[in-house]
């Protein structure tokens, strides 16, 4: 098989899995228990959190980590929790049209409940329209949630710029969905510009079922799962200690190799951009200059996306239509539409996402097969 969907999920690193199994089998104490065995689990959990903060260059004195089941859950808890906690200060919240469904849907929900929401657009590269952001901020704005790296086209938002714009006009809290950016392209340093961010284990070669929310301790947040009072009272339920350890370890391994992996993936990416742009009927949507190298989105103009993906799938080549979390809906891809492409392109987006595990040979086979599919399809 040729797996080209690393943005949707990744295989678990064997070293990470080893720790995961060891904790699950041998150190299964409840991190809330008073006895020594439980205390040991608590130590593991605390160390995992310390390591996660270290990997993100965030100081432990100001930030806290709250473990969740998924990044979607973390986004929900954070956005909704903050919006409700700061409602008295104002009812205006800001996000962008390009966000992942796990962010966008929460904003829609809050909008239905009476919050005023501004959805900021993107430019031709898929990056945030910063002027629009500046104009949208008012003294009633309490939360600004903007992703770091877009999951569909790979465009990068400038968090320092966002912070500058937001702080100049309001006290709003800044959140970034950093699921696609951490430990992949040395963008972690940028995170010191935000008040909170969310990450996911299975995008980083750790198991599924582990997400984390990182926030400034001073930020208030209304919890939803309250029983048990775990995770500093923000998320009741026995904490997944093995998952936390796995996430911390995966981040450590990834961050040690970020530079070499980034260079390797960049080379593959150059090849991919080049070959795709040479194919007739293919329009590359990802703007190479303003995007991460591991994501390349394109359109097969005039062809039905689902049929293209199915045809490739038959050849055991796995690529994605837009983000995996919304690939079953038929409408045009919001971000590509927002980038100004016409419907023929925005409704036929295909995403290829690669990693350090991808080989050039795999990409060659993929490009050849794609060419074949385009020629054969009606």
């Amino acid at each position: 098989m040729i797996y080209l969907d690393y943005t949707a999920s990744t295989p678990v690193n064997s070293e990470v899995l080893k720790s995961y199994i060891e904790v699950t089998q041998n150190y299964y104490g409840n991190a809330n228990s008073l006895h020594e065995f439980g205390v040991f689990s608590r130590r593991l959990l605390n160390q995992a959190k310390t390591q996660i903060l270290n990997m993100l260059n965030l100081p432990e004195s100001d930030y806290e980590v709250i473990m969740t089941g998924t990044a979607t859950e973390a986004n929900y808890l954070l956005i909704r929790g903050i919006a409700l906690a700061y409602k008295k200060r104002g009812n205006h919240i800001i996000t962008s049209v390009a966000e992942h469904a796990s962010v966008l849907k929460v904003f829609k929900q809050l909008e239905n409940e009476g919050f005023e929401v501004s959805y900021i657009g993107v430019d031709k590269s898929g990056c945030l329209n910063y002027d629009e952001l500046e104009n949208a901020i008012t003294d009633k704005t309490i939360l600004v949630s903007l992703m770091h790296v877009n999951n569909v086209v790979g465009s990068i938002n400038n968090l320092a710029k966002i912070k500058k714009i937001v702080n100049a006009k309001s006290d709003a809290i800044i959140h970034t969905d950093s699921v696609q950016s951490v430990c992949k392209q040395s963008l972690e340093l940028e995170l010191i510009n935000v008040d909170c961010c969310t990450i996911s284990g299975h995008k980083l070669y750790a198991p599924k079922g582990i997400g984390a929310l990182i926030k400034r301790k001073s930020i208030k947040m209304t919890p939803f799962i309250v029983g048990g009072g775990q995770e500093n009272g923000y998320r009741g339920g026995t904490t997944h200690v093995a998952g936390a350890v796995a996430l911390a370890k995966a981040m450590r391994i990834a961050s040690e190799k970020t530079k070499e992996r980034f260079e390797y993936v960049s080379e593959l990416s150059d090849y991919l951009h080049q070959s795709l742009s040479e194919l007739e009927g293919v329009e590359v949507v990802t703007d190479k200059q303003n995007s991460v190298p591991n994501i390349v989105s394109f359109s097969v103009v005039g062809k039905n996306t689902e049929i293209v993906i199915n045809s490739l799938s038959k050849e055991k080549i796995f690529v994605s239509a837009r983000s995996a979390c919304s690939s079953r809906s038929k409408s045009k891809v919001t971000i590509i539409d927002a980038m100004g492409y016409d419907e023929a392109i925005s409704s036929s987006g295909i995403r290829v996402s690669i990693s350090h595990l991808t080989t050039k040979e795999e990409l060659q086979v993929f490009v050849d097969k794609l060419k074949q599919v385009i020629n054969e399809l009606v």
């Binding site: 130590r43 160390q47 995992a48 390591q51 350890v245 370890k249 450590r252």
Partner: protein
């Protein structure tokens, strides 16, 4: 007497300008947390005061809890009626009848927080006193030396007739000022110093130096018992005690240095370790139970030499108190009896026959050249046992053991 309210006054908090809201919220939350076992209590917050509606709860039990809350200036039992003069007169009469005042001298005193009320304070007092006199026999008005004062407090939310005010603990709400690290020895003084610092809104952490086998497990447990008593005044009811194993350092000093300087150098080491713990935990204040001149190590020269090793601010709340005053407070906060239990602490064992009362800083520095200070501090830091105490007598220990550290590092 059928009092149905307790009126709580905030005192000094009302002077605190912009921070007032935060302070009051914190105080009210602390009161609620303290009283959370009384499910039927209700609370009403107004300007400058909090009303606790008893709903049948025994007020004496609530009083006990209020006596553990910093930030309360005073509190009184109260009964409420609507803001009209006839209701006030009726309620006043009822209170007098309930209080059994036959042949007693009494007076009425009125305060009018609600300036909209049509009568002045003096007029209200006169009308109410007249009404009570004409309806209750055998009672005498005496405004100069009354045996019973009927306090009428007219607020916008209603009128309250209150009994005499009982003084609260005063100070600031627990934890509002930030964190401080208390050197907790097991003696009489340090818990009192901790309590007095808690009074100003400081959330305590504690450090204790143990020297096993010279000091016993019981001596440590005694310190933890003292810590538990201080939990009552903590914002979350918990106290973290860092127990440092000090034996190696004491041995090194004892065997290598001039014995008359033993206590001074020992204390310098303690303060270095304490500062390290403070830095690690983002704590910016040290607290000691030192009282000027009480013992050799607490002369001004000693304090000067010891203080020299740290740049963190140190508060010494007992500096100018006499022993007898300290003991009074220790009894009040119920630490005295525990403090005088006869266990050796780490100072008493190694104490030299003739400790220097006026140590010189130069001499300290000269003596310390023989010690690898950094190494001893680092090793002592690794022995720290972090114990979390709480009100329910739970004790959670997290020990730094190298064996575990290696195992843990392997997993990451």
């Amino acid at each position: 007497m059928k009092y149905d309210h307790i009126l709580v006054r905030y005192g000094e908090l009302s002077l605190k300008g912009k921070n007032r809201g935060r302070f009051v919220d914190s105080l009210v939350n602390n009161v609620k947390r303290k009283c959370q076992s009384f499910k039927s209590l209700a609370y009403k917050k107004t300007h400058g005061r909090l009303y606790i509606i008893l709903n049948g709860v025994d007020y004496q039990e609530v009083f006990k809890k209020l006596d553990e809350v910093f930030g309360i200036h005073s509190y009184s039992l109260a009964r409420r009626c609507d803001n009209d003069i006839n209701s006030i007169k009726e309620l006043a009469l009822e209170v007098v009848k309930d209080s059994n005042l036959a042949n007693k001298r009494f007076k009425v005193e009125t305060k009018r927080g609600n300036k909209q009320f049509p009568l002045t304070s003096l007029e209200v007092s006169k009308e109410v006193a007249g009404y009570v006199l004409s309806n209750e026999k055998g009672i005498i008005v005496d405004v100069r030396s009354p045996e019973f004062t009927l306090n009428i407090d007219i607020q916008s939310t209603g009128t309250y007739i209150t009994e005499k005010a009982i003084r609260g603990l005063g100070g600031f709400p627990a934890g509002i000022s930030g964190d401080g690290l208390l050197l907790l020895s097991g003696g009489i003084d340090s818990p009192v110093a901790g309590f007095l610092t808690q009074k100003r809104g400081v959330h305590l952490h504690a450090v204790h130096f143990a020297s096993p086998p010279y000091t016993s497990e019981d001596a440590k447990l005694k310190v933890l018992d003292l810590g538990k008593k201080l939990c009552r005044y903590q914002k979350n009811g918990k106290l973290i005690v860092h127990v440092v194993n000090f034996t190696d350092i004491q041995n090194a000093i004892y065997h290598n240095l001039d014995k008359s300087y033993l206590i001074t150098i020992m204390r310098r080491m303690m303060f270095r370790i304490t500062e390290e713990i403070a830095n690690k935990n983002d704590i910016k204040l040290l607290i000691t139970g030192e009282s000027i001149g009480q013992v050799a190590s607490q002369t001004l020269d000693s304090m000067y030499c010891v203080n020299n090793v740290t740049t963190l601010p140190i508060t010494r709340p007992l500096a100018s108190l006499d022993k007898i005053e300290i003991i009074d407070i220790a009894r009040k906060i119920d630490t005295y009896e525990t403090s005088i239990l006869p266990f050796e602490d780490c100072c008493t064992i190694f104490v030299p026959k003739n400790p220097v009362t006026h140590p010189k800083l130069d001499k300290c520095l000269e003596l310390e050249e023989k010690l690898d200070i950094e190494d001893y501090i680092q090793k002592a830091m690794e022995t720290i046992e972090k114990i979390t105490l709480d009100l329910n007598n739970n004790t959670v220990t997290e020990q730094n053991s190298n064996e575990n550290s290696e195992l843990i590092d392997g997993l990451f």
